[in-house]
């Protein structure tokens, strides 16, 4: 529709340079990008390529966001993350102590600059009050999971012992299964889940991480109203 075929996502079948072979006369003679015109003066060595923003080294990040408690805010946040190509690993939302605000804990993978960009994009939303990347801060972090485990008369004791050792809690006992509640960090829950997988997992639900920075500082108090 617009006069811009370069954005059609297709690989050009022919570069301008190689198109010269088809009788088109004057055009650049090489395929490689040429080096920029060197400033005058002593001979310059070819400049290194300009660094792209970010290290490219991805790791798990944890963002905490305080947002207005209004309909549609979750949609705005998730829509923005999708549109900007960020992949959310987990997202936990609930009201804070104030009626008018909610708190989101978002975990995602990316390099430092990409995640900083995600945080900045979140700030562009009118309903977002404060965003902090707490990845490198001392924090307490937990998530909660319910695991409905297959448990027969023959192995129920074994399962229950494992639950006890993992500081889990049985919240429902039924014929052929137990529901276990476990809390811990993401990796602690991963470990528990892999341990009980041999018995058979009928259902699994996880809340996603909730995180709070240690110490007396407060993200909510940091909001300028």
């Amino acid at each position: 529709m617009s006069g811009d075929p370069g954005s059609n996502g297709r690989t050009p079948r022919d570069t301008p340079a190689s198109a010269t072979s088809t009788a088109k006369a004057s055009s650049p003679s090489d395929d490689a990008p040429t080096i920029a015109e060197a400033p005058p003066g002593p001979a310059h060595t070819a400049p290194p390529p300009r660094a792209l923003p970010g290290s490219g080294e991805t790791r798990r990040h944890v963002l905490v966001a305080i947002v207005m408690n209004k309909p549609g805010v979750l949609n705005r946040v998730s829509s923005l993350m999708r549109a900007r190509n960020f992949n959310i690993d987990s997202l936990a939302v609930s009201k804070t102590d104030r009626e008018d605000t909610s708190r989101m804990t978002i975990t995602l993978h990316g390099d430092d600059v990409a995640v900083e960009q995600a945080a900045k994009q979140l700030y562009r939303l009118i309903d977002v009050l404060k965003v902090q990347d707490v990845t490198s801060d001392p924090t307490v972090e937990h998530e909660l999971a319910f695991v409905k485990i297959r448990a027969t008369d023959s192995n129920r004791d074994e399962v229950l012992r494992l639950v006890e050792l993992s500081r889990g809690r049985v919240v429902d006992l039924a014929d052929g299964s137990v529901i276990v509640e476990v809390t811990g960090t993401e990796s602690e829950i991963d470990t528990f889940v892999s341990l009980v997988r041999t018995y058979g997992i009928k259902e699994l639900v996880r809340t996603g991480a909730v995180v709070m920075a240690r110490g007396s500082g407060s993200i909510e108090e940091a909001i300028k109203r």
Binding site: G3, G6, P16, P33, E116
Partner: protein, 621 residues
Amino acid sequence: MTMKTDPAKPPGPATAGRRSHVPGDGSAHAAAVERAQKGMLHEARDLKRTRIGADVLCEALLRQGVDVFFSYPGGVILPLYDVLGDYPELRHVLVRHEQGGAHAADGYARVTGTVGVCMGTSGPGATNLVTGIGTAMLDSVPMVAITGNVPSALIGKDAFQEIDINGITLPMTKHNYLVRDADELPRVVAEAFHIARTGRPGPVHIDITKDALQQETRAEHPTHAEVIEGLPGFRPNLEGHGRQLKTAATEIANAKRPVILAGHGVLHAQAWDDLRAFAEKTSIPVAWTLLGIGAMDETHPLAYGYMGMHGWKHVNRAIQSADLLIAIGMRFDDRVTGNVRTYAPYARIVHVDIDPAEIGKNVAVEVPIVGDAKRVLQALTPMVPETKIEERREYLDQLADWKRDSEASSWHGSGAWRDGLLSADYVVERIGELTDHRATYVADVGQNQMWLARYTGFREPNSHVSSGGLGTMGFSVPAAMGAALGRPDRETWAITGDGGFQMTFQELMTLVADDIPVKIALLDNKKLGMIRQWQEIIYAGNYHSASLPGPDFAKLADAFGIPAFRARTPGEVDDAIRAAQAVNGPALIWFEIAEEQNVFPMMPAGKGLSDLIEKWGGADE
């Protein structure tokens, strides 16, 4: 009579007739808003009937200083049309398609610096606005788009003409609202205008259910302070950070080959005088992006030119050899940088932008400054040492040489391209010349847009209107309609290709019906010119859909009652332009230009600024 500005009249201060988008800044517009707010309180108006949501909407628009809006009626927005007669000071322009209304609001906003307003009904009315809203979003244009929606009780029931327009506009607006209660309207409209015009501007969409428009209400309008208080998450940072400003001043003092890159943000912040003062104190040449055109008078000795994919070769050379780029209110768009790995390899970068998310997004920068272009320039200028032109003589002389070389290329001063066919660059240059470079020039998208940007010669801020980010074909004629109403003191020219023109020419009827004196320069190469150019150069001449048969445009204009003129040779160009200028009202000039002329230089996608293609088919390019 002609609309031509009297050349004997001094140009006057650059801000004359212009409106501010910053409330309370003492400008004429701020004063008008204040007057409106005092005079338009609903108690002052004797309606002799119940005050309903639609009245509140009209009051709220008047309180925001709105004098015109572009709209199209439909079932659920009829309650508004039922009361419009009571608000004669609110001019309603009945467009022929909602997309035209959105572009018109956009054009109005760009030339006035205030918020443009468009409206439509639910369903198709709303979706027709979407292209215009997206255009405004990508170019950060302050706009409020208002749609009606089905009654609240029918929402979610797939009612007639119901669509989730809030869900559709969510990713392409700065913010959006769904209003189901008339009591919320005063707050929502006031917030919408505040958000649209404050910080980095952008479009805001308000969806109002039919029952809310009909609901009786006694809701009061909020004060500006109440609006701000109600938006705790919206506190744009306007002042640059002191330490970063100091670092920037040091970088600037040490730079030997600095270049200023001026973007749309300079115009949004009305910082053209500050930009000139900064450039003059430091003797640093100024280059501009497509949307930064007009930030600097092109006749100024330090005005260097238009950068990027189809920018001037000399400008791209200067950027590629610069040791410092001072980027102000621009976002290092891919059309500006090309391949970022090879972009400005010797340069350190000072990046000033009001949106923190733009800094470090596309290129890594050494000195980030978050702030309003005007305030940052006003703070920075006193901090930098004065550098006389003589002290940069060697550098500026080299740039001047490059400029001489580059300006001679791809320019057809005789008006003739290959075989004497009419050359498009010549046409836009003549339009610039015969309007004294002081009209409003509204581009469409594609080759015409690039010719206009390169050859017209712009002298005034906000005199160039172009869909840069979204690249919306069909933008020119409807946007020019809004631009002409926003700046009636200037002649308004829509410069369009035959492709874009055929997308939205239904608005010719609006020009006639509402007597909007837009002059249309139709550059007809009977092609989708940029498509043809790319297929010729990048797709090895494998043409598909590049030819675009069109109607007899003179007869078409005539059918609408618009005088049409035709030019097929260089010798006919000036006469046609003068004839169109002499028409009291809209006019169209059908320029039948060379069919296969390309815009050069061009930087192929994925390549760098040093990899420009300057010629293709032969010496007559």
